[in-house]
Amino acid sequence: MQGASSGVGYGLKYQARCISDVKADTDHTSFITGTLSLREENEVHLIRLSSGGTELICEGLFSHPNEIWDLSSCPFDQRIFSTVFSTGESYGAAVWQIPELYGQLNSPQLEKIASLDAHSGKINCILWWPSGRNDKLISIDEENLFLWSLDCSKKAAQVQSKESAGMLHYLSGGAWDPHDVNAVAATCESSVQFWDLRTMNKTNSIDCTHVRNVDYDTKKKHILVTAEDESGIHVWDLRMPKVPIKELPGHAHWTWAISCNPEYDGLILSGGTDSTVNLWLASTSTGDGMTSESLVESPTQLVDPLLNSYSDYEDSVYGLAWSSREPWIFASLSYDGRVIVESVKPVLSKK
């Protein structure tokens, strides 16, 4: 299972946690990533995979005022992205625009479009409208869920609605349902909560503990994948929230990040604190659903869902992103600041 290191590497200067696919860039396969350094000058890197796919080129290097805890690219404008940052004592979130003539400038400054400054606690993440041009944004902090309306031209963001998760629920992250734009999944300590954005009410919840990351299957409705600390990866069908339809063993330590492939159904990527990235093929098409993993696998279940394990990392992998332009390519980011872009084609062709 040890994949030969076919990946293309790129080194960031400092430690880093987050990487995002630049969806809006339809001409190149590019990713954006930001460093996490408490005491140094933090940077945002715009990287592009060369057309041959053999090299990662730094398209832009911008300084960012604080360490970046979350970063996501705007789905409709390749120059816009959002970050969640921390000064060490307090958190902030903002939407940034890459300056137009950055190629000529020596050390170009990012242009802050809007500051999402309604938060008080620790901010977890910012979610963009799943696809297409829309002014909606969601930001999640530990206690609240904010729905923003962003006006790029006016460079302003307004809180449309806000809802508190309730007492004793510390939110830790979330995902926007690509099939139902009114639904958002938010992870908290002991469950995954589902919110309806129209009413800002909790509609449903799945009981599962220590969820680190959550992702919707972009191809299939109702399918949600969660990454949990100890217990690996669970695939859920939201129509049957009691029992997961699939369990994957996950990683030797925690499973930190999870990402469903935007094109290939059931192809799941997970990054873990055991310094590996695992590629899974968990066919979610089992209609009967109740094929939860058991110790005595029937012969059909004996097919190992683990397609490949990329172990060429020095530290925990926190950042994962599939390329939406070339969906067989993903970028991974380990804590030591190494970006590795791999293609899953050789693994898939073997199957």
Binding site: L38, G88, H253, T273, D274, E314, Y335
Partner: protein, 774 residues
């Protein structure tokens, strides 16, 4: 002559040919003519040409030869002359004798006519005489015939009149057969004249017959009479047109009654059997009654030869009931000996009955029933085994832990369950081996099937065991949900220790129990016959081993996960609660270290109870008891920590990177083995890794960093003591500190003396506490 021959040739030759062809039908002659030169010697043929012959002879032979030929020829001619003469004489002789004979015949034939006439006359007279005699004797003969008939009639009448007396005599002498014969003989007469001339006679004899019938009935029903006699009685009754069917029904009822008695007796016996094991006495009573029943059947059959169907049904009922009782008994766990006892009794009965009633095919019938019962027995045996094992596990862990009596509940549980598995399986095998080895006819026929069932049983048993383990471990969520709410409660409270025991038990089954069982099966249950070879043997130890190997690994993994989860919760609480950016200066080692160590201690004790020690035990450090030497981190790091703030912070990251480059990559996530050290090490590693990850999510001020530094430093000694892979632990602990320093706004470490002092204070406090508790 030769000269003549030439002119003659054409004409003469044609003429001769024509002539010879006319006289001789044989075309071969003419052809021989054409080749006349060739056949010199053809002197005997009809177409012999003397001239030609001469010509040829003269031409071919010399004088001497001709002379010789001449002599030869002369001799031949002379011979032929004598022969001819002889023939003429002989013929003449015969002619003369024939003439003589004809003359004599003529003379003899003259007196014949007169003789014939005489003969005819005599025959005629004989015939007339015989007719005379015939007519004269006719009258007398007729008279005699009439007299004879009268006499016969008289004798019959006499017989009829004598009949009652004779019957009475027969009754006295119990010669019922004779009586019946007489009576049936007289029957036609009674029928014809019974109402008139022989009224008295008839009545008297009927009375006599009534007594006879009564006697016969009595005889039929009396058990003391011999079967022969009873059968005869039945036959006689039948001859007397007595309604036998009702008798039959009555007798049959009696048989049924007998059967019920038998059943009752048997039930008593089985009850009795349960009370005491004194089978000899009870079986003998059963025996007797079955014997009786068999005899009765036999008699019945002889008496009523056409009653098989009923009897077959009756006997099958008997067997069925037998098996029903046995089945009931099986449900309560009975020993093989008892089970065999049952079967033996049944088989003996069957054999007894079979002797009497061959048509019932009782052996086959009972074979089917036995098949069912034995199969059930095997299945039940295995289910009991499963139950025992699960009891051994649950009782020992759940109950005793609650009571808190046992010192090492896990160890006890493991040992008892190991024992339950191995000894239980062996016992089952030994027991079932009795079934196979028993030379009971019934079981001999089933032997192959039994072997198959046992093998299948084991296969199924292990599968079920695996499922059960899963259920116990609570690993299989869907199963537990399928089991419903009743089980749900139990599953919720699955103890990590139980999972560990299950893991070790799985390994034990894979490595010890299954090979042993396989061996045992191979020796005593080999050669499965019924099952086709294409299906392979029913018991596949390889598959079982595979199942349990993977199960063992998964349980172990599950145990580790459960344990690390608990630690994670602990750590999470620790890191969530304080505001690390506003942390106060460290005064003592934090409480959570105690909790962590306590948790590890529990794990250690659990692991020690269940798992074996690893072979490769690293030598312990001599100065491991938390002394200053070990608590001090390596000088390089201290050196690094004491540098000036800004400079160090910059260089530190680089330095760690460099250190990582040069340091051999420490394998943190190695494969866990089934040893105490390996499991503990894995858990500690995972916990430290979790600690590192938690640290990375926080931001610390200087005091927060120092607090972590202090806690970690304190942990260093006790952790190393419990753990196999010291290098990895060191590495991970360092990583935590490095991670904290990276996440620290102002990473200035504690001075070593202060660090040491605080640790010593903690140790002293701990000692004090343990002293108090002791």
């Amino acid at each position: 002559m030769g000269v003549d021959d030439v002119p003659l040739d054409d004409k003469a030759k044609r003429m001769r040919d024509l002539l010879s062809s006319f006289y001789s039908p044989d075309p071969a002659m003419s052809s021989s003519n054409s080749s006349k030169f060739a056949s010199l010697d053809a002197i005997n043929t009809t177409s012999f040409d003397a001239d030609q012959y001469m010509n040829l002879l003269v031409q071919k032979s010399n004088l001497e030869g001709l002379l010789q030929k001449h002599v030869e020829m002369a001799a031949e001619i002379k011979n032929l002359d004598t022969d001819l003469q002889m023939l003429v004489y002989e013929n003449y002789n015969k002619f003369i004798s024939a003439t003589d004979t004809i003359k004599r015949m003529k003379n003899n034939i003259v007196g014949m006519e007169a003789n014939m006439e005489q003969l005819l006359e005599k025959i005629m007279s004989v015939q007339s005489r015989s007719d005379g005699v015939n007519t004269s004797l006719f009258e007398k003969r007729e008279h005699i015939e009439k007299l004879h008939r009268t006499r016969n009639l008289l004798r019959k009448v006499q017989f009829i009149y004598d009949l009652p007396a004779r019957l009475g005599k027969c009754i006295k002498s119990e010669a019922y057969a004779d009586a019946v014969r007489f009576y049936t003989g007289a029957m036609p007469i009674f029928k014809a004249y019974g109402d008139s001339s022989f009224q008295d006679c008839k009545r008297a004899s009927e009375e006599a017959m009534a007594t006879i019938i009564k006697n016969l009935q009595g005889k039929l029903f009396s058990d003391t009479e011999s079967i022969q006699a009873r059968a005869e009685a039945a036959v006689l009754l039948k001859q007397l047109d007595f309604p036998v069917d009702s008798l039959k029904a009555k007798l049959f009822e009696k048989l049924e009654q007998l059967l019920q008695d038998l059943q009752l007796k048997r039930e008593e016996v089985t009850n009795f059997l349960e009370d005491s094991n004194d089978t000899s006495k009870t079986t003998s009573t059963i025996d007797a009654s079955v014997h009786e029943f068999a005899e009765a059947i036999k008699a019945y059959r002889v008496i009523f030869p056409d009653s098989e169907k009923q009897l077959i049904k009756l006997s099958q009922d008997l067997i069925t009931k037998h098996f029903e009782i046995t089945e009931q008994n099986i449900k309560e766990q009975i020993s093989v000996a008892k089970f065999l006892g049952f079967l033996r009794v049944i088989w003996r009965d069957v054999l007894l009955m079979d002797e009497v009633l061959n048509e019932a095919f009782l052996p086959d019938y009972s074979l089917e029933a036995a098949q069912r019962v034995v199969k059930q027995y095997v299945a039940i045996t295995f289910s009991h085994l499963l139950h025992d094992i699960s009891d051994a596990l649950i009782v020992n862990i759940h109950m005793k832990q609650k009571e808190g009596v046992e010192e090492n509940p896990l160890q006890v549980a493991l040992e008892t369950s190991k024992n339950a598995v191995l000894k239980g399986s062996m016992d089952v095998l030994v027991d079932l081996r009795h079934l196979v080895d028993d030379n009971l006819g019934l079981l001999l026929k089933l032997r192959d099937s039994i072997v198959d069932w046992i093998q299948e049983g084991f296969q199924e048993f292990f599968r079920a065991l695996d499922d059960h383990f899963l259920l116990l471990s609570g690993r299989n969520k869907s199963v537990s949900q399928a089991q419903g709410l009743t089980e749900g409660k139990v599953v919720d409270k699955v103890l990590a220790g139980l999972v560990l025991v299950l893991a070790q038990l799985s390994v034990f089954i894979e490595q010890t129990a299954v090979p042993k069982i396989t061996e045992e099966i191979a020796t005593s249950f080999s050669g499965s016959g019924v099952r086709g070879y294409e299906n392979g043997p029913a018991f596949v130890p390889g598959e079982i081993c595979r199942i349990f190997r993977s199960a063992g690994e998964k349980f172990l993994h599950h145990y580790i996960t459960m344990r690390t989860q608990r630690v994670s919760v602990l750590l999470k609480k620790r890191f969530k609660a304080p505001n690390w950016v506003k942390h106060k200066e460290p005064r003592e080692v934090h409480m959570f270290v105690d909790l962590l160590l306590q948790e590890l201690e529990t794990i250690g004790s659990e692991v020690k109870q269940v798992l074996s020690q690893g072979v490769l035990r690293k030598h312990r450090r001599s100065e491991s008891n938390g002394s200053t030497a070990s608590s001090r981190s390596n000088p390089l790091r201290d050196d690094k920590m004491s540098r000036t703030n800004t400079q160090r912070a910059r260089s530190q990251l680089l330095e760690t990177h460099l250190a990582k480059l040069f340091k051999q990559k420490v394998e943190i996530f190695t494969k866990t083995e089934f040893t105490q050290e390996s499991v503990v090490t894995t858990i500690v590693k995972l916990c430290l890794k979790s600690l590192q990850e938690f640290v990375r999510l926080q931001t610390f001020n200087r005091s927060g960093f120092q607090q972590i530094q202090l806690d970690i430093q304190f942990l260093r000694a006790p952790l190393k003591e419990t753990v196999e892979d010291e290098a990895a632990i060191d590495f991970l602990l360092d990583e935590v500190i490095v991670g904290t320093s990276e996440r620290c706004l102002d990473p200035i470490p504690l001075e070593p003396p202060i660090l040491d002092k605080l640790i010593q204070a903690k140790l002293a406090k701990k000692r004090e506490q343990s002293a108090i508790s002791l």
